[in-house]
Each structure stands twice: as C-alpha cells, then as structure tokens.
C-alpha cells in the first residue's frame, strides 16, 4: 500500500455557518477515519513523538491499538499519563510537540496524533469510570490550589497514588482556563465537565469558592488544615493593558473579562443567561496569541459585522496556533498586521475607534523575533465600538502577598526547581502559568505531573 503523505481530513463546520454559532468547529474523526489515520503511523522503534509530549503519552502504542479498532485499550494507554485526553486532543499545540517530531512530517504531514487522541477520549466520554481499583489511602493529605489544567493533573496523579487530595478553586466551577478562557466552539464545556467529573471518581475532593490567599492562606493549609504538601496552580490571572489613552472607556475589555463573561458566565446566551456582555458591530482585538483568536472569533459569533486582529508584528511572528489563525481567516476575521494601537478614541465615554500606527520589522530582539518599529506619520484610525486587549497576563499576586517565604521573580512568577516544581518554601510546590506566565494547557499539565511525582517522592520518604 502506498504511503499516504497527508492527514486524513477531519470534518469541520462550514465557516459561513459556524461564524454564527458557538458549536464546536472541528467535528472529529469517526471510527473508519480514525483507523485509516492510525494506519499511517510507522510504529517507529524509537518514537520521537513521545519526546515531544510534555506528559509522555505512549503515542505509538495507543495508535497501534486504535489501528486494530481497540479503542478502549487505546484510551487506557493514553490515560496512564494523561487524565484530560478529550481536552488535550483539542487544545494542545500538537504541531509544536508530538506531531512536529513525527517522522512522517519530514516528507509530508505527520500522523494526526491530536485528532486520534480526541477520538479515543470522546468514544468513552459518556461512560462512567470504574471505581473499583482505587488505591488504598496512604493517610497523607495534599492541597491543590486552583482547578485548572496544572491542578487537575497534579490532583489526579496524587489521588491515584493514594493521597487524599482537595482542590481549592476560587471560581464557582472547576476547570480554570478550560472553563473561563477557551471558548465553547473550540472546547465544549460539557466535555470539560465530564472529564473533571471523572476525577471525582478517583476520590479527589473539590472545594469551590475558596480563594487561597484570602479565604485560607497557604500557611493555614500546611498548619491547622493538616495538609502535608501544597501544590499551587493558580494560573496567570492579571490582564495586561497597554497604558495608552482611552483604555477605561466603556467598551474596552481585557480578553480575560470578555471571555470569562462569554464562557464561564454564558453571556452569549444573554438575556436567557444572566450575565451581559457588550455586542459590538465593529470589534478590534489587540494581540496575536490564541487568546486573541478566541476573543475575535467570539466577537464574530456575538454578531459583529467586522472583527479586526491588530498585531504589531507580522503573521509569521504570531504566537497563535496556525490552525486557529487559519480558522479565524476562514471565518472572515480581518488581520491588521504590523499595526500597533496608540490610543483608543472615545465619544461620550464610549469607544469610537482605535488609533493605530503602522510598524516595520527591524533587527531581531531578545525573543529572536524581528523587533517592530513604528513608521513615523503613519497613524490611522480603525472604527470600532469594542476594543479587546489580548496582550497577555501576569501571575496573580494574592498568594505571594500572603505566603511568607514564597519567592517569586520580579514579574511575579513563582520561582521553582524545574524538575520538581519545589518552591523556596518547604512543602510547597507550584506549576503552570503561576510559574511560567501565560503558556499552554499541556505545559501546565506537564508541570502538575512533575510536581505530583516530586511530592510523592518527598512524602513517601517521610
């Protein structure tokens, strides 16, 4: 059989249809497509794909099982190292990780590892997890701060080792960025909830509405609350603004607020839901990451006629996943590249436009990307009634401020040992965006995994 050099295509909602709804864009493989794609895998003796995976999913093994139609075995293999496969199959930047290392990618397209992972996970999503093989409790308690990808992963791994784990979540719902940040059309919330529910079956306790650093401090967790270790996975909370005139005008949002209103609070369903969000006709999103794409595509679905992505570098430097950029282009988002906002123009207190300046690329800067330089006299204004700032976040200072002995970088990230996640404070570990600043779901999960391992090593020797 000749080798097929391209991925088995995946069905997607038509761009002209999906731009008006919040349903998932990618429809996933069916059994036939999954087996066809699984058969493209060469089953390398030294699989490079695994080295690209932050949580070391045994990729060739699970694909081999899939190619024989043994979906349950495939999922079992994935779940040995990854507790959120339906999430990861959708939002991992596979093209930068496992798929980048795939030997097929040298000549053509890699195996569609992400789509296969998603297929296996979705296949049994509605099935109850068996609870009969829970480990014996080992009598030790671990507190996990934050119910996002890092915390959920650490919690699951520790629970499987017999620890009594409690996740403390500030919001009323678990999931962190999976729930408040990533939109429904990319990651359906019902699915996230199902994957989280499965953790409950591992015996993990969830305590929502608790803000560590406010309601309870880390020292209290280690003291009177009786926890033997604490894992901090509190995420990168604080939105950045540009410090340009007009940012407090009505109609200016941080991407965090805009997306939280839409995703967590279901503002897209207003007035049937209770939380409103402004529906603009002309929306400008500032930034070039996945969050900017999510905000722009959400604005479109809320009924905007025109949505611009305003980014100061060129499309090649955009940090967003190619797939997301591609989807955004298909849906009709306008990309204003090499463009930087200088002022938000207002009228009667409301946004009227975004004044920008053209940029050109100069010498590479410390990030290795060519530095954008303003072109003098090139200012122009894009008409807009909503402006969304999606230019990054920094770690929330609430925990640092109330945890003596916890050292952080100047920019706010918690300082940890990279291999173990151990912080400067005895018994306290950290991982995810709270450590790295805004990064990806899978990197946070990888960090949660490493910390769980380190916590186990430490506590089992005590």
């Amino acid at each position: 059989m000749p080798m097929i050099m391209t991925k088995t295509p995946v069905r997607e909602q038509d761009p002209q249809v999906r731009r008006y709804n919040f349903d998932e864009v990618c429809l996933g493989y069916n059994m036939e497509e999954a087996i066809q794609e699984a058969n493209r895998c060469l089953q390398c003796k030294k699989p490079m794909c695994v080295t690209g995976c932050p949580v070391n999913v045994q990729i060739p093994q699970f694909i081999a099982a899939l190619s024989e139609g043994r979906v349950r075995d495939a999922l079992q293999i994935i779940k040995e190292t990854n507790n959120l496969p339906a999430v990861c199959g959708r939002v991992c930047p596979q093209e930068e990780q496992c798929e980048k290392q795939c030997i097929l990618a040298k000549k053509g397209e890699s195996v569609a590892i992400g789509r296969l992972e998603r297929f296996a996970a979705d296949y049994f999503l509605d099935e109850e997890e068996p609870v009969d093989n829970l480990p014996q409790p080992n009598g030790k308690k671990v507190a996990v701060v934050g119910g996002g990808p890092a915390g959920l992963t650490a919690a699951a791994d520790l629970a499987k080792l017999g620890y009594e784990v409690t996740i403390f979540e500030a919001f009323h719902e678990l999931g962190g960025v999976l729930i408040y940040g990533i939109p429904e059309f990319r990651l359906p919330k019902a699915l996230v909830k199902k994957e989280i529910e499965k953790l409950k079956n591992l015996g993990v306790k969830f305590q929502t509405n608790v803000i560590i650093g406010k309601t309870i401090t880390v020292d209290e967790l280690l003291g009177e609350e009786g926890f033997d270790a604490v894992f901090i996975g509190s995420g990168a909370g604080l939105p950045k603004f540009m410090n340009i005139p007009g940012e407090n005008l009505n109609g200016v949002y941080s991407a965090n607020e805009y997306l939280t209103r839409i995703n967590l609070m279901k503002a897209y369903d207003f007035p049937h839901s209770h939380t409103p969000v402004k529906r603009g006709k002309k929306v400008c999103v500032v930034g070039g990451g996945n969050v900017a794409m999510d905000a722009a595509r959400s604005a479109l679905r809320l009924g905007a006629d025109e949505v611009h992505i305003v980014y100061r570098r060129s499309i090649e430097e955009m940090p967003a996943r190619q797939e997301e950029v591609h989807h955004a282009v298909e849906e009709g988002i306008i990309f204003d590249m090499l463009t930087n906002p200088v002022e938000i123009i207002g009228e009667d207190g409301w946004v009227k436009g975004l004044k920008c300046i053209r940029m050109e690329l100069g010498e590479p800067d410390e990030s290795g990307r060519r530095r954008p330089i303003p072109v003098p006299g090139s200012e122009f204004t894009i008409e807009a009634d909503i402006v969304i700032m999606a230019i990054g976040t920094s770690p929330n200072p609430l925990i640092k401020a109330t945890t003596p002995g916890l050292e952080t970088h100047k920019w706010g990230g918690i300082i940890v040992d990279e291999e173990t996640g151990a912080t400067s404070k005895e018994g306290v570990y950290a991982g995810g965006d709270a450590v790295t600043g805004a990064a990806t779901v899978i990197l946070a999960m990888g960090a949660g995994k490493k910390a769980a391992k380190a916590i186990h090593e430490k506590l089992s020797h005590q």
């Binding site: 309601t215 407090n248 941080s254 607020e257 939280t260 409103p276 402004k278």
Partner: protein, 279 residues
Amino acid sequence: MYKILEKKVLAPAMKLMRIHAPLVARKAMPGQFIILRVMEGGERIPLTIADYNPSEGWVTIIFQEVGETTRDLGRLEEGDYIKDFVGPLGRASELDGFDSVLCIGGGVGTAPLYPQIKYMHEKGTKVDVIIGARSKDYVILEEPIRSNCSNLYIATDDGSYGQKGFVTDLLKQLIESGKKYDHIIAIGPMIMMKMVCKLTKEYGIPTTVSMNPIMVDGTGMCGGCRVSVDGKIKYACVDGPDFDGHLVDFDEAMRRSQMYKQEEQQKHDCNLLRMGGEL
C-alpha cells in the same frame, strides 16, 4: 450552598441577610466584600460586608434591589440557600491611627460603614456619623450605629427625618461650626462620594471612599473593575475597594457603572414578556 440564617426588610427594596459562611466570617475585616451567585446560571455580583461574626460563622449583607440579581436574592427567605458566596475580597480598610473620624453613609452605603464605625469605636477612636437617605423609611442601621459613635447626624432629601437636605449640607455645618476631624470616610452613591470629596478637598481633610464597580471574579483577573486613581489604573477588587477620594475619577467611574444599562433594560423587558406569556 450557603444558608440564609436571617432575613429582614430594612427599608423599601432594601434587605438584610445573615448568611452562614464560616470561612468568610473567619477572615472578614471592615471594608471587605464578598461575591455571590444566587443560583445556578446566575450572575456574580459583589456586595460589601455589613457585619460578621467569626465564632458563630456568619456574615451579614445588606442590599438594595436594583437589578435582576438583587431582586432574585431578595425573593429568598430564611432557611433558603445561596448557591455561591466567596470572600472576603479586597483590602481591609485602614482604620488605625486616627483621633477623630467623620463617617458619612448614603443610602445602602451606610451598611459597609457600620463595621468600620464599630471597629474604630471599639479602638477608642472618636467617631461622628452622618447618615443620608431619601426619606425616613430609607434610614438604616440607625440604632446600632448610634450606640457605636459619639454623635449621629441624619439628613433626608425630603426632610421626613433629621435635617432636610444632603449629607454635604451637614458636613459643611459640622466643619464650619468648628468640628475637627483628621479623617473622613464616605460610602454611598457615586455622586454623593464625589460631592463629599469636592468639599473635603477644599477643607483639606483626607477622605477615603469605597468603590463598588462592576466586576466578575473579584480577584484581579478580569480587570472590569478598573478605576482611575491619580491618573493610574487601579483594580477595585484587589487594590481597593477603598481609595483616596481626592484622587478618584468619579465621572469615569459613574460612566463605567452605566456600561450595561441597555442590557439590563433588555433583560427586564425580556422578563416582562416572559411573565406576560405565563399569564
């Protein structure tokens, strides 16, 4: 779920609820607030803490029914449960080191003032209080405040109780009669705080106000609650809610509080239609 231990109607459309929330009660300090969600699918709204008792594990909130969420909340009764209740949020008020303080509460803003008055009174600070309200029916917490302060003055817009006029009239009279205060705390409608601050700036008396902007998470994550203070962006949820009243841009804050007026109207109309459909 958080149980409503007590419910009282303080004034028309103004209600008090004592909520069982031991974790919040244990940490609460004067000036802090909570965020609640009445029911599944509900909106998250911030409300300032009006009283708390760590040993009994309760927190009191006082709210005016101004929108859908506060009306939903007001419909709950003693023994019912609130879905989500999180806090304490924000920084505690800085209340130490003053000799003589004037506290000015307007309408429902009198509620968060109460724990501050009580705290200072217990510490031996001399506290005078002005309560302002639309009319007699809207004067709240008169008795507990009276027993926790040196002098209580009341102003009503229509003169049905206390002096007729605004809190600023009383403030002016007190200062001009020679009263000396080293600090003023004003909590109430934005326009009241603005007018108080305009006056106290002229008198050169430092003034703290408590901002209550629109917010979602209350932990600094959404940035919706940003307030311009001395030309810099501050988040009311983590940097406040208390700010130096002489540096707050009240006009901007008032404008921002109107951001969802149109949507609120839309929701209101939609509810009326639905109710109409059920009739």
